[in-house]
């Protein structure tokens, strides 16, 4: 049975309308917030520009690792949540189907129209995005770039493979790493992320 992404999207949209008395949205095992992508883009791109010449840390690595650690924790929470059990689990027939479920949730979160292009189990994942808010935001604010700019999606794609093929949580984080080989911010037609086994296991986080 194929993953029905629209069901997941519907659940996220309906779920996000639940607000407890504290204005906190507990959903899928995490606390969700909704806010303008302008905030995230300004934060990421000004951070990158500011520390480029003055700090030993590499902005690209820091931003990507932040997203990968987040994605790893978030989607682990998601696949252990009541909502996942009720809505997604019935649609899963093999481990790789989880990836489609993760992608559907990411789309529901407004991160872009992600699609799985290629999967070699435990080796390689290729994900494509046509409307990444990161690339769109960069183009609108800065014009074309010489390098890829979708750090959040890049980290999240790595986390997807960590969760499916890495060691049991929480040991599997950074087993894989992603490179954004194509990016609309560079003038490509779409953004494309290639995930492979990583040689590093350590991160700032």
């Amino acid at each position: 049975m194929a993953i029905d992404g629209q069901k997941i999207i519907h659940a996220v949209m309906e779920g996000s309308r639940y607000r407890d008395a504290k204005g906190i949205i507990p959903l899928f095992g995490v606390y969700l917030s909704l806010f303008s992508v302008r905030y995230y883009n300004k934060l990421s791109f000004e951070f990158e520009t500011t520390i480029k010449d003055t700090n030993p840390y590499n902005a690209e690595t820091l931003l990507t690792d932040a997203a990968q650690e987040c994605g790893y924790a978030t989607f682990h929470g998601i696949r252990n949540s009541r909502e996942w059990e009720e809505i997604v689990l019935p649609m899963i027939e093999k481990p790789e189907d989880q990836l489609e479920g993760f992608v559907a949730v990411a789309v529901a979160f407004g991160w872009g129209d992600l699609q799985i292009v290629e999967l070699v189990p435990n080796e390689r994942l290729v994900v494509r995005a046509n409307e990444s808010y990161e690339a769109t935001g960069y183009l609108e604010s800065y014009g074309f770039s010489n390098s890829s700019k979708c750090y959040m999606l890049r980290g999240v794609c790595g986390a997807f493979m960590d969760l499916i093929y890495g060691e049991a949580y929480p040991e599997g984080c950074f087993t894989f790493s992603a490179i954004e080989e194509k990016c609309r911010a560079k003038g490509d037609k779409f953004c494309e992320f290639v995930v492979k086994k990583s040689f590093k296991k350590k991160s700032f986080f």
């Binding site: 909704l34 995230y40 300004k42 650690e69 978030t74 979160f109 407004g110």
Partner: protein, 173 residues
């Protein structure tokens, strides 16, 4: 309270998520707190300032659009109510404005996404940490009183991340 009309205003357009024509994304506390932690560690005060200005700018343009769209909401009180409703319904927490003047203000927050997230990931801290909310408030005030970005300074004088009872914000021009 003047609510946002969620059933009508939270919409999908293709893969985009829109709140009254403002492009938004959902993110969890892991990502929001990771970004904050990274900024504080690598850039110190400059990172805190970046987080504040980013929230301020996003809030500013968001409320410019909301108040334009909801033109029937005219009084200051009703605009503040709408803003607090937006804050709460976006999962950011609860805000109460106790004093609102064009040159100053006072607000408290008994609950916050960033507080909840920070305490869950890192526990108590020794300095105030609601840089996002400070910026959010500044952007709102600038729209409420027709001032340019950067007009208001918002300081946090008590913070639940430090285990104070509530977060307290002072707004000054």
């Amino acid at each position: 309270m003047t609510p946002l009309e969620w059933q009508r205003d939270l919409k999908r357009k293709g893969s985009k998520l829109l709140l009254s024509s403002i492009l938004i994304a959902m993110h969890c506390h892991h990502y929001n707190i990771n970004l904050q932690h990274m900024l504080e560690i690598t850039m110190g005060d400059q990172g805190i300032e970046l987080m504040y200005r980013s929230a301020e700018e996003a809030s500013y343009f968001m409320f410019k659009e909301y108040f334009r769209k909801y033109g029937r909401i005219k009084t200051l009180k009703s605009k503040i109510e709408l803003a607090c409703s937006v804050y709460q319904n976006c999962g950011l927490g609860v805000l109460h404005f106790l004093k609102i003047q064009s040159d100053c203000g006072h607000a408290i927050s008994p609950a916050s996404h960033h507080v909840t997230g920070w305490l869950a990931k890192h526990g108590r801290r020794d300095t105030t940490g609601c840089h996002f909310t400070r910026g959010w408030i500044a952007g709102l005030f600038e729209v409420l009183f027709g001032r340019p970005l950067g007009t208001y300074k918002v300081v946090e004088t008590a913070c639940k991340m430090m285990r104070n009872d509530t977060c307290i914000f002072e707004i000054m021009e």
